[in-house]
């Protein structure tokens, strides 16, 4: 089978001059055959799995999938559940803040490192280091740091500031920001490195030119360098957004969704109802909503980014 395919492949790459013109489908056949497993995986596992999940979210499946269609019942219940609504709010807060702060802090750190400072390697390693830790470890570390009995609060109180209070993980109103701090600590290092690579890619002539024209450094950064780094920003954006949607393990390790349900996130709702609650239908409905949210963000962006290029 394989020998046969290879033979056809060779035939297609160097057709005898008298043969009919090669069909487009057969051109570069070896590469196409090599891509088949990946194409199948993408179609069956990703696309097929997604379609299957969406279809079964309209059923009353409990522990095992069952094709008993109940219309929008699961979605009705989902949106009247307080925990789900709070999960969505949390994800929105976390997502927005994480997007803005990761980009800003990442860029500022990179710009600072780019000033030809001493020990740049050491600083870069220190700042990137948290990224080498898993979310579980990050979550536990920050759970301890933010614990009022042992962590930051007790250290600062020990220094003499008796009234200092900082216990975000124990206050339902701001607990999600405790998670955000840990997420930023873990993730900004990578964004910084990406930005730094982008800054290094900027031609030194541009700096010289802006200096000759007497433009202040911050203006050069904001109006010249940042627009030139657009591809880097887009890569960073994609990395940050994918990190936001899959936020799960950090919450499980750091707060377990608590206090109460103050730091619940959609992914955790999906897991808890699919496996803990033995209600696949409900879990599928929730994951379909997550997919929809991603699609709403990604499709217009992809159309702008890729569709525009083809036309132009």
């Amino acid at each position: 089978m394989r020998a046969e395919a290879a033979a056809t492949g060779r035939g297609a790459t160097s057709p005898p001059p008298s043969a009919a013109p090669p069909r487009r489908l057969l051109r570069n056949l070896t590469a196409k055959i090599a891509a088949i497993p990946m194409v199948l995986t993408a179609l069956v596992v990703f696309l097929g799995g997604t379609v299957w999940t969406v279809v079964y979210s309209f059923t009353s499946s409990r522990m095992l999938p069952r094709a008993e269609f109940v219309g929008l019942e699961q979605y009705d219940r989902l949106w009247s559940t307080r925990r789900w609504v709070i999960s969505i709010e949390n994800l929105a807060i976390y997502g927005l803040c994480s997007l803005v702060f990761s980009l800003v802090i990442g860029f500022v750190l990179a710009a600072l490192l780019d000033q030809k400072i001493r020990y740049e390697n050491a600083f870069r390693t220190i700042l990137l280091y948290p990224f080498a830790l898993s979310f579980i470890v990050t979550g536990l570390v920050w759970q301890w740091i933010l614990d009022p009995e042992f962590g930051l609060q007790s250290i600062i109180r020990g220094l003499g500031f008796e009234n200092f209070t900082f216990d975000p993980l124990y206050n339902p109103d701001i607990a999600i920001f405790g998670i955000l701090i840990a997420g930023l600590w873990q993730g900004t290092g990578l964004i910084m490195i990406l930005m730094l690579a982008g800054l290094r890619g900027i031609d030194g002539e541009i700096w010289k030119a802006s200096r000759v024209d007497g433009i202040p450094a911050w203006k050069t950064y904001l109006f010249i360098i940042v627009p030139m780094m657009r591809p880097v920003f887009i890569t960073a954006l994609v990395l940050i957004t994918s990190g936001i949607v899959k936020l799960y393990d950090l919450v499980v390790a750091q707060t377990g969704g608590g206090p109460g349900i103050a730091t619940e996130v959609p992914a955790k709702y999906v897991y808890d109802y699919m496996f803990g609650g033995q209600n696949l239908g409900q879990g599928f409905a929730a994951s379909t909503m997550m997919l929809l949210a991603v699609a709403i963000v990604v499709i217009p962006w992809a159309m702008l980014e890729f569709g525009g290029k083809r036309r132009g």
């Binding site: 522990m63 095992l64 219940r77 559940t81 109460g260 349900i261 803990g276 609650g277 033995q278 409900q282």
Partner: protein, 410 residues
Amino acid sequence: MNTIRGALALTVSLAAFPAAAADLEVTHWWTSGGEAAAVAEFARLFEERTEHEWVDGAIAGSGNTARPIMISRITGGDPMGATQFNHGRQAEELVEAGLMRDLTDLAEAGKWREVVNPPSLLDSCTLDGHVYCVPVNIHSWQWLWLSDKAFAEAGIPVPTNWEEFVAAAPALEAAGKVPLALGQQAWQQAGLFATLVISLLPDDIYLSVYRDKDAEIAAGADMAQIFAALDTARGLAAKSTVQEWNQATNMLITGAAGGQVMGDWAQGEFAMAGQVAGQDYHCLPGLGDKPVLTTGGDAFYFPLVRDDDVADAQADLAEVILSPEAQVAFNLKKGSLPVRGDVDLDAANDCMRKGLEILAAGTAMPDINQLIDSDTRTRIEDLLVEFFADPSYAPEEAQERFAGIIGDAR
């Protein structure tokens, strides 16, 4: 080709003939000190009496962590030899899907129907006349554990029911104690809630809410009383920040807390700490208000396996679990009650005797896991977690949501 097939058939038939020793993986969530000691008794007896090996598959966390792992292994086609579930509806769909081994033949041969007491335990293992699990023990949730040390230090007598306990709380607080120890996990808060329902209200209200799923009664005045009591409990437990139930029990052992509402498995922890019932700690079944217990508990299920040796080992384990010796050894360590009425429990302590008396009197009730499914359980737990975390959450609002959940339940 034919010779190979022949040889294969021969090996298969040879393997099927003598009951060869097999490794039997047993998954469970018994990981606290008392629990681990109890399950070790099963492993010991199983290995002594049969030629099989016990492979311990303990999963840390609580049942809420362990069950998804077990279920995904069974549905994913990588079944263990045997696994723990609570009696009732947790494994219902696995049984319906034909993933669990039918134990009816074993049950008839071993006369389980006559041996198992109360018979309702075997009923919750039975689906359409077939038996699918072996009851291991009887657990009841409705116990109020009291630390004699804490009450002595506060200078007040040990209460004899829930009302006295609530009345004693200010004195405990004045002595720097946490009145009610409560772990911050959903199942513990849900257990406390259900215990209040069963112990403080007449039986028929519990049954109409949880068994008949009557949303009107769930929204009614009797249940309002329970939500008020839950509000009180929330206040009493406000300073209890531990997570695990055994850490909460430890607060009683050290005298840092006055009481804890927890199932009879708490007894295993007291025993491990060398404490004596009636002397170092007191126990009040039905919170001291009503002699009632629910007969929930654990059961072993045996997933359907292809390997004949493992299947033999499964049958042997089922027999060992129900044997009188194993029942006594396991339940003494675990603090639970045996599923046989005919075993000799001379070594039973005060608390176990109280439980046995209630069982003998026949006032036991079905456990919550036998009445509601995991979906409803998870929703009630979500509600209670929120209620306990937010002191401004009004009991009336919680009751309204609770009635909604009961109305939706199947």
